[in-house]
Symmetry: C2
Subunit: 146 residues, 2 copies
Amino acid sequence: MKRDSRLSSVLHALLHMAERGEPMTSETLAVCMCTNPVVVRRTMGLLRDAGLVASARGPSGGWQIVADLNSVTLRDLYDALGEPTVFAIGNRHEAPQCLVEQAVNAALDDAFADAEALLLDRLGKITLARLSADFNRRYAAHRTRA
Amino acid sequence: MKRDSRLSSVLHALLHMAERGEPMTSETLAVCMCTNPVVVRRTMGLLRDAGLVASARGPSGGWQIVADLNSVTLRDLYDALGEPTVFAIGNRHEAPQCLVEQAVNAALDDAFADAEALLLDRLGKITLARLSADFNRRYAAHRTRA
DNA sequence: TAATTCGTAATATTAAAAGTTACATGAAAC
DNA sequence: GTTTCATGTAACTTTTAATATTACGAATTA
Protein backbone atom coordinates (compact mmCIF):
# COMPACT_ATOMS: atom_id res chain seq x y z
CA MET A 1 0.00 0.00 0.00
CA LYS A 2 1.30 3.39 -1.04
CA ARG A 3 1.77 5.72 1.89
CA ASP A 4 1.13 9.43 2.12
CA SER A 5 4.54 11.05 2.48
CA ARG A 6 3.40 14.64 2.47
CA LEU A 7 4.11 15.15 6.16
CA SER A 8 7.65 13.92 5.76
CA SER A 9 7.92 15.95 2.58
CA VAL A 10 6.78 19.29 3.92
CA LEU A 11 8.96 18.81 6.98
CA HIS A 12 11.91 18.36 4.73
CA ALA A 13 10.98 21.51 2.83
CA LEU A 14 10.40 23.54 5.98
CA LEU A 15 13.75 22.64 7.48
CA HIS A 16 15.48 23.62 4.28
CA MET A 17 13.54 26.88 4.30
CA ALA A 18 14.52 27.46 7.91
CA GLU A 19 18.20 27.07 7.06
CA ARG A 20 17.88 29.62 4.28
CA GLY A 21 16.54 32.97 5.29
CA GLU A 22 15.15 33.99 1.92
CA PRO A 23 12.19 32.72 -0.14
CA MET A 24 12.54 29.50 -2.10
CA THR A 25 10.69 28.94 -5.36
CA SER A 26 8.40 25.99 -6.00
CA GLU A 27 10.92 24.82 -8.56
CA THR A 28 13.79 24.78 -6.07
CA LEU A 29 11.69 23.03 -3.46
CA ALA A 30 10.48 20.52 -6.03
CA VAL A 31 14.05 19.46 -6.70
CA CYS A 32 14.91 18.95 -3.06
CA MET A 33 11.59 17.19 -2.44
CA CYS A 34 12.00 14.97 -5.51
CA THR A 35 8.71 16.09 -6.97
CA ASN A 36 7.05 18.61 -9.18
CA PRO A 37 6.56 22.40 -8.76
CA VAL A 38 2.79 22.09 -9.06
CA VAL A 39 2.65 19.50 -6.32
CA VAL A 40 4.77 21.79 -4.16
CA ARG A 41 2.39 24.68 -4.71
CA ARG A 42 -0.62 22.56 -3.89
CA THR A 43 0.92 21.17 -0.73
CA MET A 44 2.54 24.37 0.50
CA GLY A 45 -0.73 26.11 -0.27
CA LEU A 46 -2.32 24.09 2.53
CA LEU A 47 0.38 25.27 4.93
CA ARG A 48 -0.20 28.82 3.81
CA ASP A 49 -3.92 28.47 4.51
CA ALA A 50 -2.93 27.42 8.00
CA GLY A 51 -0.73 30.49 8.41
CA LEU A 52 2.54 28.58 8.59
CA VAL A 53 4.19 29.86 5.42
CA ALA A 54 3.70 32.73 3.01
CA SER A 55 3.98 32.80 -0.76
CA ALA A 56 4.87 35.69 -3.02
CA ARG A 57 4.62 35.94 -6.78
CA GLY A 58 6.92 37.49 -9.27
CA PRO A 59 10.69 37.91 -9.29
CA SER A 60 12.33 37.26 -5.91
CA GLY A 61 9.08 35.60 -4.88
CA GLY A 62 8.61 32.11 -3.50
CA TRP A 63 7.87 30.42 -0.19
CA GLN A 64 8.94 31.42 3.29
CA ILE A 65 8.20 30.32 6.83
CA VAL A 66 6.25 32.92 8.78
CA ALA A 67 5.40 30.95 11.94
CA ASP A 68 7.62 30.70 15.01
CA LEU A 69 9.59 27.47 14.80
CA ASN A 70 9.20 27.02 18.54
CA SER A 71 5.45 26.96 18.43
CA VAL A 72 4.82 24.90 15.28
CA THR A 73 4.49 21.18 15.98
CA LEU A 74 4.24 18.22 13.65
CA ARG A 75 0.64 18.01 14.74
CA ASP A 76 0.08 21.46 13.29
CA LEU A 77 1.48 20.25 9.99
CA TYR A 78 -0.71 17.17 10.10
CA ASP A 79 -3.75 19.35 10.70
CA ALA A 80 -2.74 21.76 7.96
CA LEU A 81 -2.53 18.89 5.49
CA GLY A 82 -6.18 18.13 6.19
CA GLU A 83 -5.74 15.51 8.89
CA PRO A 84 -4.95 12.74 6.43
CA THR A 85 -6.01 9.19 7.20
CA VAL A 86 -3.59 7.76 9.74
CA PHE A 87 -4.14 4.05 9.26
CA ALA A 88 -3.76 1.87 6.22
CA ILE A 89 -6.03 -0.68 7.89
CA GLY A 90 -9.73 -0.08 8.30
CA ASN A 91 -13.27 -1.38 8.44
CA ARG A 92 -15.14 -2.44 5.40
CA HIS A 93 -18.32 -0.46 5.90
CA GLU A 94 -18.97 2.55 8.03
CA ALA A 95 -22.58 1.75 8.97
CA PRO A 96 -23.06 -2.00 8.87
CA GLN A 97 -26.44 -3.68 9.31
CA CYS A 98 -24.86 -6.97 10.26
CA LEU A 99 -24.53 -7.53 14.01
CA VAL A 100 -21.36 -9.52 13.45
CA GLU A 101 -19.83 -6.57 11.71
CA GLN A 102 -20.92 -4.22 14.44
CA ALA A 103 -19.13 -6.33 17.03
CA VAL A 104 -16.02 -6.47 14.87
CA ASN A 105 -15.98 -2.75 14.16
CA ALA A 106 -16.49 -1.80 17.79
CA ALA A 107 -13.47 -3.83 18.85
CA LEU A 108 -11.24 -2.54 16.08
CA ASP A 109 -12.34 1.08 16.34
CA ASP A 110 -11.36 1.26 19.98
CA ALA A 111 -7.86 0.01 19.45
CA PHE A 112 -7.28 2.21 16.42
CA ALA A 113 -8.68 5.29 18.13
CA ASP A 114 -6.29 4.87 21.05
CA ALA A 115 -3.29 4.36 18.82
CA GLU A 116 -4.22 7.40 16.78
CA ALA A 117 -4.60 9.51 19.89
CA LEU A 118 -1.15 8.44 21.05
CA LEU A 119 0.39 9.25 17.71
CA LEU A 120 -1.18 12.69 17.43
CA ASP A 121 -0.20 13.46 20.99
CA ARG A 122 3.38 12.61 20.16
CA LEU A 123 3.33 14.71 17.02
CA GLY A 124 2.00 17.59 19.09
CA LYS A 125 5.12 17.52 21.23
CA ILE A 126 7.69 17.78 18.46
CA THR A 127 8.40 21.34 17.34
CA LEU A 128 10.10 22.48 14.18
CA ALA A 129 12.69 24.17 16.37
CA ARG A 130 13.59 20.83 17.91
CA LEU A 131 13.95 19.18 14.51
CA SER A 132 16.05 22.06 13.30
CA ALA A 133 18.32 21.66 16.33
CA ASP A 134 18.47 17.94 15.65
CA PHE A 135 19.52 18.64 12.08
CA ASN A 136 22.24 21.06 13.19
CA ARG A 137 23.57 18.50 15.62
CA ARG A 138 23.80 15.96 12.81
CA TYR A 139 25.40 18.51 10.57
CA ALA A 140 28.07 19.36 13.15
CA ALA A 141 28.81 15.67 13.68
CA HIS A 142 29.03 15.20 9.94
CA ARG A 143 31.50 18.04 9.54
CA THR A 144 33.64 16.67 12.35
CA ARG A 145 33.87 13.30 10.67
CA ALA A 146 34.72 14.82 7.28
CA MET B 1 -6.36 6.61 0.56
CA LYS B 2 -7.87 3.17 0.23
CA ARG B 3 -7.53 1.11 3.37
CA ASP B 4 -6.81 -2.57 3.76
CA SER B 5 -10.01 -4.09 5.12
CA ARG B 6 -8.84 -7.68 5.17
CA LEU B 7 -8.56 -7.81 8.95
CA SER B 8 -12.09 -6.59 9.37
CA SER B 9 -13.15 -8.91 6.59
CA VAL B 10 -11.68 -12.15 7.89
CA LEU B 11 -12.96 -11.34 11.36
CA HIS B 12 -16.41 -11.07 9.93
CA ALA B 13 -15.98 -14.39 8.18
CA LEU B 14 -14.55 -16.12 11.24
CA LEU B 15 -17.40 -15.03 13.48
CA HIS B 16 -19.91 -16.30 10.96
CA MET B 17 -18.00 -19.56 10.77
CA ALA B 18 -17.98 -19.78 14.54
CA GLU B 19 -21.76 -19.41 14.67
CA ARG B 20 -22.16 -22.22 12.17
CA GLY B 21 -20.55 -25.47 13.11
CA GLU B 22 -20.10 -26.84 9.60
CA PRO B 23 -17.82 -25.81 6.75
CA MET B 24 -18.69 -22.78 4.64
CA THR B 25 -17.76 -22.55 0.98
CA SER B 26 -15.76 -19.71 -0.54
CA GLU B 27 -18.87 -18.77 -2.45
CA THR B 28 -20.99 -18.43 0.68
CA LEU B 29 -18.29 -16.49 2.47
CA ALA B 30 -17.83 -14.26 -0.56
CA VAL B 31 -21.47 -13.22 -0.37
CA CYS B 32 -21.34 -12.36 3.32
CA MET B 33 -18.00 -10.58 2.86
CA CYS B 34 -19.23 -8.68 -0.20
CA THR B 35 -16.43 -9.98 -2.35
CA ASN B 36 -15.36 -12.73 -4.67
CA PRO B 37 -14.74 -16.45 -4.02
CA VAL B 38 -11.18 -16.27 -5.33
CA VAL B 39 -10.35 -13.40 -3.03
CA VAL B 40 -11.81 -15.42 -0.16
CA ARG B 41 -9.61 -18.38 -1.01
CA ARG B 42 -6.54 -16.21 -1.25
CA THR B 43 -7.19 -14.52 2.07
CA MET B 44 -8.40 -17.56 3.99
CA GLY B 45 -5.43 -19.43 2.57
CA LEU B 46 -3.18 -17.18 4.65
CA LEU B 47 -5.14 -18.08 7.77
CA ARG B 48 -4.85 -21.74 6.88
CA ASP B 49 -1.07 -21.38 6.55
CA ALA B 50 -1.12 -19.96 10.08
CA GLY B 51 -3.10 -22.94 11.33
CA LEU B 52 -6.22 -20.97 12.17
CA VAL B 53 -8.64 -22.53 9.69
CA ALA B 54 -8.79 -25.65 7.54
CA SER B 55 -10.04 -26.07 4.01
CA ALA B 56 -11.51 -29.18 2.39
CA ARG B 57 -12.27 -29.80 -1.25
CA GLY B 58 -15.16 -31.58 -2.84
CA PRO B 59 -18.81 -31.91 -1.82
CA SER B 60 -19.47 -30.86 1.77
CA GLY B 61 -16.08 -29.16 1.69
CA GLY B 62 -15.27 -25.57 2.54
CA TRP B 63 -13.68 -23.59 5.34
CA GLN B 64 -13.78 -24.23 9.06
CA ILE B 65 -12.14 -22.80 12.15
CA VAL B 66 -9.71 -25.22 13.75
CA ALA B 67 -8.07 -22.98 16.37
CA ASP B 68 -9.40 -22.39 19.86
CA LEU B 69 -11.40 -19.18 19.88
CA ASN B 70 -10.06 -18.39 23.32
CA SER B 71 -6.46 -18.37 22.22
CA VAL B 72 -6.71 -16.64 18.84
CA THR B 73 -6.25 -12.88 19.06
CA LEU B 74 -6.67 -10.15 16.49
CA ARG B 75 -2.90 -9.88 16.56
CA ASP B 76 -2.69 -13.47 15.34
CA LEU B 77 -4.93 -12.56 12.42
CA TYR B 78 -2.84 -9.50 11.67
CA ASP B 79 0.28 -11.65 11.65
CA ALA B 80 -1.37 -14.31 9.51
CA LEU B 81 -2.27 -11.69 6.92
CA GLY B 82 1.42 -10.89 6.57
CA GLU B 83 1.67 -8.04 9.04
CA PRO B 84 0.25 -5.51 6.61
CA THR B 85 1.42 -1.90 6.75
CA VAL B 86 -0.27 -0.21 9.69
CA PHE B 87 0.09 3.43 8.74
CA ALA B 88 -1.11 5.32 5.71
CA ILE B 89 1.48 7.97 6.48
CA GLY B 90 5.17 7.36 5.98
CA ASN B 91 8.58 8.63 5.04
CA ARG B 92 9.59 9.37 1.53
CA HIS B 93 12.80 7.42 1.32
CA GLU B 94 14.03 4.61 3.47
CA ALA B 95 17.74 5.46 3.36
CA PRO B 96 18.09 9.17 2.81
CA GLN B 97 21.45 10.83 2.18
CA CYS B 98 20.16 14.20 3.21
CA LEU B 99 20.84 15.13 6.85
CA VAL B 100 17.61 17.10 6.97
CA GLU B 101 15.72 14.01 5.96
CA GLN B 102 17.52 11.93 8.55
CA ALA B 103 16.44 14.29 11.30
CA VAL B 104 12.88 14.27 10.02
CA ASN B 105 12.70 10.51 9.71
CA ALA B 106 14.16 9.89 13.13
CA ALA B 107 11.51 12.03 14.75
CA LEU B 108 8.64 10.53 12.80
CA ASP B 109 9.81 6.94 13.10
CA ASP B 110 9.84 7.12 16.88
CA ALA B 111 6.29 8.37 17.15
CA PHE B 112 4.97 5.90 14.62
CA ALA B 113 6.80 2.97 16.18
CA ASP B 114 5.27 3.70 19.57
CA ALA B 115 1.77 4.03 18.16
CA GLU B 116 2.18 0.80 16.24
CA ALA B 117 3.38 -1.01 19.33
CA LEU B 118 0.35 0.20 21.25
CA LEU B 119 -2.01 -0.90 18.51
CA LEU B 120 -0.52 -4.36 18.15
CA ASP B 121 -0.51 -4.79 21.91
CA ARG B 122 -4.21 -3.96 21.96
CA LEU B 123 -4.96 -6.36 19.14
CA GLY B 124 -3.10 -9.06 21.05
CA LYS B 125 -5.53 -8.74 23.92
CA ILE B 126 -8.74 -9.22 21.95
CA THR B 127 -9.68 -12.85 21.40
CA LEU B 128 -12.14 -14.27 18.91
CA ALA B 129 -14.05 -15.71 21.86
CA ARG B 130 -14.56 -12.24 23.25
CA LEU B 131 -15.79 -10.91 19.93
CA SER B 132 -18.11 -13.86 19.61
CA ALA B 133 -19.52 -13.16 23.07
CA ASP B 134 -19.88 -9.52 22.09
CA PHE B 135 -21.82 -10.54 19.01
CA ASN B 136 -24.13 -12.80 21.03
CA ARG B 137 -24.81 -9.99 23.45
CA ARG B 138 -25.81 -7.74 20.58
CA TYR B 139 -27.90 -10.49 19.09
CA ALA B 140 -29.78 -11.06 22.33
CA ALA B 141 -30.43 -7.33 22.69
CA HIS B 142 -31.64 -7.20 19.12
CA ARG B 143 -34.10 -10.08 19.64
CA THR B 144 -35.43 -8.44 22.78
CA ARG B 145 -36.18 -5.26 20.88
CA ALA B 146 -37.85 -7.10 18.02
C1' DT C 1 6.92 46.03 -20.78
C1' DA C 2 9.61 41.94 -19.94
C1' DA C 3 10.74 38.50 -16.81
C1' DT C 4 9.51 35.80 -13.07
C1' DT C 5 6.68 33.18 -10.05
C1' DC C 6 2.59 31.64 -7.98
C1' DG C 7 -2.56 29.76 -8.75
C1' DT C 8 -5.19 26.40 -10.58
C1' DA C 9 -7.90 23.76 -13.91
C1' DA C 10 -7.69 19.87 -16.86
C1' DT C 11 -5.60 15.85 -18.11
C1' DA C 12 -2.46 11.86 -17.96
C1' DT C 13 0.25 8.50 -15.71
C1' DT C 14 1.23 5.19 -12.30
C1' DA C 15 0.94 1.67 -9.00
C1' DA C 16 -1.52 -1.22 -5.81
C1' DA C 17 -5.46 -3.57 -4.64
C1' DA C 18 -9.30 -6.06 -5.89
C1' DG C 19 -11.89 -8.54 -9.00
C1' DT C 20 -12.44 -11.96 -12.79
C1' DT C 21 -11.74 -15.84 -15.82
C1' DA C 22 -10.23 -20.22 -16.59
C1' DC C 23 -8.90 -24.47 -15.58
C1' DA C 24 -6.40 -28.04 -12.88
C1' DT C 25 -6.62 -30.85 -8.61
C1' DG C 26 -8.76 -33.41 -5.19
C1' DA C 27 -12.68 -35.39 -2.40
C1' DA C 28 -17.23 -37.23 -1.66
C1' DA C 29 -21.52 -39.48 -3.08
C1' DC C 30 -23.99 -42.28 -5.74
C1' DG D 1 -15.64 -45.23 -11.53
C1' DT D 2 -18.14 -41.40 -12.91
C1' DT D 3 -20.30 -37.27 -11.62
C1' DT D 4 -20.46 -33.34 -8.91
C1' DC D 5 -18.74 -30.12 -5.97
C1' DA D 6 -15.22 -27.33 -4.01
C1' DT D 7 -10.60 -25.62 -3.40
C1' DG D 8 -5.83 -24.03 -5.62
C1' DT D 9 -3.78 -20.97 -8.44
C1' DA D 10 -2.05 -18.65 -12.57
C1' DA D 11 -3.02 -15.02 -15.72
C1' DC D 12 -5.35 -11.14 -16.79
C1' DT D 13 -8.48 -7.06 -16.24
C1' DT D 14 -10.55 -3.42 -13.76
C1' DT D 15 -10.66 0.10 -10.47
C1' DT D 16 -9.14 3.78 -7.82
C1' DA D 17 -6.37 7.05 -5.52
C1' DA D 18 -2.33 9.44 -5.64
C1' DT D 19 0.85 11.82 -8.13
C1' DA D 20 2.66 14.06 -12.06
C1' DT D 21 2.22 16.96 -16.07
C1' DT D 22 0.70 20.50 -19.23
C1' DA D 23 -1.02 24.79 -19.96
C1' DC D 24 -2.12 29.18 -19.13
C1' DG D 25 -3.87 33.08 -16.28
C1' DA D 26 -2.77 36.47 -12.57
C1' DA D 27 0.27 39.08 -9.94
C1' DT D 28 4.66 41.23 -8.91
C1' DT D 29 9.15 43.26 -9.64
C1' DA D 30 12.44 45.86 -12.03
